[in-house]
Symmetry: C2
Subunit: 343 residues, 2 copies
């Protein structure tokens, strides 16, 4: 360790509406020192995720809001630079909920070692990480797709949506994906094997969605909320199930996000909507990781990543989520491996 | 049987918005004759229920719409006037889904015999009937109230709501009832034992609701939808459950019923909303009826009825539902017993 100063990325304003680049600030500070049972890690890949927008508001939620003028915290793959823990040694590759910073200190209990020989490093932030597990538990525990049923997924080319569609196919469902560019639609249909695709930016979106779901909708995995979800709700079959995973269209809404009330539809169709967060399933992560890793190794589960190069691009990458710049998981490559490169 | 002509009540217009008296028409017709395995019954009590408004629209729902220029059909307690069935004899008291008519013919398999010695006749249309079962299954199967949790019920002085609150109390929950008149609030608090009550017509409704639920809301039994439900949704605890039973505030909405989207709230709190109709639980009715009858006999379950006198008042009684004229179940007394009076 020769470097003594480093950059952290702080949240300096609580955004109203869509976050802006000015809401973030790069702050120079000392590289911290680990205490006993702690390690100093160096960020290699930083995960930027839609749910983080929620933490920028000062409102009650399942996780507390980010603090102003402190580093933002999220999923990071890092390498151990200095270890004062018996569980880790210099050069180990780890996954943790860490600062948006070049270096950070973490307690040994808060890090999980990852093996780059089992899967590419970045997979631990995407298909084998929280996004893969989100798809797995939301779809299987709430959606419960049955053979021959129709599963509709919004945000279908995103990290969660693309896994949802593939897992639903593995369960024998017919899968209809909704996304916003022809390129994304081609990807999920040709490379991931979705049965039908619909572009929500099409003028005839509602008609095209209806045409793609001639037998109605049994499961709607909702990643986006808003108008897209309103349209799917009209097509529900009796006893439909709706895992409500994300509501990206309303995260940036200023004032109240209003739309058709869902209650009459839920009553007419005896349907279920359930919001969830992957943390609800923490006690079952091991099972989920095993299934996902097996499907990955068997070639039944594909994934894509959009990797933005450079730690300094992290805020821009985050803002890009709301413009749909990514196909699959959006990550920032913060640095080339240094301590782990000769392992 | 000397009477040969009778009155039926037909739906002659599909209402837009709130139904009007002109949407109904009294039509004189012949008293029908039963075929083999059928009986002719005479209506004693007619049930008027909010769900019937939905059947007046020509839209897909869990039950088909009423046909125009035909008799409206609903829950009726009747006495057997002429039997051509071995299962029924003249004077038997029965429950069935029957015409809004003085007399109607029914297949023997479509009627259930009821015993006026076990409970008052009208109880079979209210607390021991579909409304009691609706409360029972919606609350216990979807709401799943736990000891010490807070259960909020809207439409709390109605037939379903008043049963929901009492069953929730039996399960050890704290129960908060929402209704629209001081008389109703006094009834559910003083006679039914609700812990707290809130008047949704109060200027400070939102603040009063919040004050009545200092520990948040774990179960919201939703009978009404609309603004009232929007207010409750803001107070949900994590892992809240919302049986969506009725949406009376939107049944008469012209155009689209819009309000704050629920998806962000469901995600933040990992909450569940499920629409249902009592028919979903048909295979478990026996269990429900037994529990309800036991609670009734033990004095743990009270109920109230608002009885409108006279078959000719049936349409007005139905319209009264939307003005909140009733406390408890709203029924029409269509006739004095004749064939059954000497049993």
């Amino acid at each position: 360790m020769t470097q003594t100063k480093q950059q952290e990325i702080h949240l300096v304003n609580r955004p109203t509406g869509t976050p802006a680049i000015e809401d973030f600030k790069f702050v120079e500070c000392d590289v911290p020192s680990p205490k006993e049972n702690e390690v100093l890690v160096r960020a290699l890949y930083i995960s930027v995720d839609p749910y983080m927008r929620g933490r920028m508001n000062d409102t009650k939620s399942y996780i507390p809001p980010f603090e102003l003028n402190k580093a933002i915290v999220g999923g990071v793959i890092a390498e151990v630079a200095v270890s004062r823990s018996e569980s880790f040694k210099r050069g180990d590759l780890v996954l943790g909920n860490l600062n948006w910073a070049e270096y950070s200190v973490a307690k040994e209990t808060k890090l999980r070692k990852i093996d780059p020989n089992l899967a590419p490093l970045t997979a631990y932030l995407s298909v084998l990480g929280m996004t893969g597990l989100t798809a797995y538990f939301g779809l299987l525990d709430i959606g419960k797709p049955q053979e021959g049923e129709t599963v509709v997924v919004s945000g279908a080319a995103g990290a969660v949506g693309s896994a949802v569609g593939q897992i639903a196919k593995l369960k024998g469902a017919k899968v209809v994906g909704i996304a916003g560019t022809d390129e994304k639609l081609a990807y999920i249909k040709n490379e991931l094997g979705f049965d039908e695709t619909v572009n929500y930016k099409s003028e005839n979106f509602k008609e095209e969605l209806k045409a793609a779901t001639p037998d109605g909708v049994d499961v709607y995995f909702d990643n986006v909320g808003g108008d897209v979800s309103d349209a799917v709700m009209r097509l529900l079959n009796n006893h439909a199930r709706i895992p409500v995973c994300g509501s990206i269209s309303s995260y940036n809404a200023e004032g109240q996000d209003v739309g058709p009330r869902v209650q009459p539809t839920l009553i007419k169709t005896s349907s279920l909507m359930k919001g969830f967060t992957v943390g609800n399933y923490a006690s079952e992560f091991e099972q989920g990781r095993n299934d996902l890793a097996n499907w990955l190794q068997e070639g039944k589960l594909k994934y894509k990543e959009t990797i933005v190069e450079g730690f300094e691009k992290t805020p821009e990458a985050f803002l890009g989520l709301f413009k749909g710049i990514n196909t699959g998981k959006l990550l920032v490559k913060a640095a080339e491996p240094e301590y782990s490169k000769n392992r």
